[in-house]
Amino acid sequence: MLDDAAIIRLSLTEPERFELLFQRHAPSIQRYVVRRLGADAADDIVSETFLLAFRQRGGYDCTRGNVLPWLYGIATNLLGRHRRDEIRLYRALARTGIDPVVAPFTDQVDERVTATAASRRLAAALAALPAAYRDALLLVTWGGLSYEETATALGVPVGTVRSRISRARADLRSTLGDLAPASTEETS
């Protein structure tokens, strides 16, 4: 199976090959975007992420190998245009206990009311986080990136990622109170 860098190299002379990257990585990017912004807005952002990557592929450093951090970085930048919508979703979850993002994936009303008290407080805390903290935290937890990959995605030093996530976690713990005991484990 071709690795990501090989596909990008081939796509410079045979552009249609870039679609293989879409097939390979769109599910992950889509889930990340849907979780942050809901299914309705996700189509545009997912497609635009890959089209931007396609246009910028000439400058991609193929020694990096895995393109996921790069794609997540593009998607996160695009999400930045929709901050208010994203925050609105978190606040809706915090207020009503119904997760508007999950609703399209289930047709049973009782399953839609999924939020525990902890989830509702968590959503409120996410809405209140500074955007830069939220981006770093969600790339790690929802995107599954390492700290180093998150640094690549955001274009900041890895130390910055560590401090942003540390502060974000402290904020969340503070909001969650006794619903989320402090953990001694630090992810990296």
Binding site: L10, V46, S47
Partner: protein
């Protein structure tokens, strides 16, 4: 449960599914616009092909007569008979099984009798040389069965993905046009050489291997595993994506046998339970196990599979799970030359 566990749980409420049709269409439209009208149209059609398309099976005589009449039914590669792999629609629906239901023969098929890869290549090459050359625009119907092993139960959620699919597909021999009435699954086998450039490939198997390896690893530091993986995957992609000239198919079989570590097995079974012979690339630092199964009579590709051995599932620091690549395979249940897309044999 700490804040990271809660976040992960929130993320897991959203299922990990294939890209939505809307996102895919928007991307393809944008790609079409970026690559120019004529090329764009071609690329969209080509790339919607699931990476699963192997050479047409035996039936040279039937082809000559049948194409004139509009349809040519080809011999099934082995065990399974045409009545089992019945035409579109009803059979596809009837055979679909719920998530987690394994079809006959599902699972890694290392079992079998080891044989010489060179011997298999010689036999297979001699057999396929007697088969016809097909025009690039010849339409071919194919019924494709796909299976992905389910994830371990301890990480399954209510959004567990489907693992089994059967669909009807139509494509041209050069892979330029592809249509399906199904959900467009595909597991692997993407061609690294355009159909129009097949004639420029080196004729000697060793040179062919070197060419395919160089495509992916042009630098001087490619390891043996790098080369073996790219050679095997490159050949698999060509065998599956196109209906190749018989001479090239024969050369590719010899090239498979020339890859270090590749071995052959007799009496392997595909997910449909059919017995075949296989070229196998064992797992290495760059690749999971890969297997190309041929019919023991026509020596055309009837299935391809991959899986990872060893390893175990571990919880990541971010609350997700990481583990070995589960077994997956696509099998070609029926193939026939037809007069156009959507036409059934």
């Amino acid at each position: 449960m700490n804040e990271l566990d809660l976040l992960t749980r929130l993320r897991d409420e959203v299922p990990l599914t294939d890209a939505s049709p809307g996102a895919r269409r928007a991307f393809q439209d944008g790609l079409a616009g970026a690559t120019g009208p004529s090329r764009a149209r071609r690329s969209r059609l080509r790339l919607r092909r699931p990476p699963g398309f192997s050479p047409i099976l035996a039936g040279a005589t039937a082809l000559a007569v049948g194409v004139t009449a509009g349809v040519a039914v080809l011999a099934l590669p082995s065990g399974r008979q045409p009545s089992t792999a019945s035409p579109a629609g009803s059979a596809t629906t009837a055979r679909a099984t719920p998530t987690g239901t394994a079809p006959t023969g599902a699972g890694p098929k290392i079992a079998g009798t080891t044989r010489s890869a060179q011997l298999l290549a010689d036999t297979a090459a001699n057999t396929v040389l007697s088969q016809p050359t097909v025009k690039a625009d010849q339409w071919v119907y194919r019924k494709v069965e796909t299976y992905r092993a389910p994830l371990p139960t301890f990480i399954q959620t209510k959004f567990q993905l489907r693992t089994y699919n059967v669909e009807n597909t139509w494509t041209t021999a050069d892979g330029d046009h592809f249509y399906t009435t199904g959900s467009d699954w595909g597991l692997g086998g993407y061609p690294t050489v355009p159909y129009s450039r097949l004639g420029t490939l080196p004729a000697h198997p060793v040179a062919l291997d070197a060419y395919l390896a160089h495509q992916q690893y042009p630098g001087p530091n490619a390891t043996t595993a790098n080369k073996a993986t790219s050679e095997f995957s490159g050949i698999e992609g060509l065998l599956i994506a196109y209906v190749l000239p018989p001479k090239l198919t024969a050369e590719l079989y010899h090239a498979l046998a020339d890859i270090p570590t590749v071995y052959a097995k007799s009496n392997v079974k595909d997910i449909a339970g059919r017995v075949g012979v296989a070229f196998i690339l064992p797992q290495n630092g760059q690749s999971v196990n890969q297997e190309i199964i041929l019919s023991p009579t026509s020596y055309q590709v009837i299935a391809d599979a991959d899986w990872e051995t060893g390893g175990h599932w571990v919880k990541t620091k971010t609350g997700g799970w990481a583990g070995p690549v589960p077994f997956s395979e696509q099998a070609f249940l029926a193939e026939a030359f037809v007069s156009g897309r959507g036409k059934l044999p």
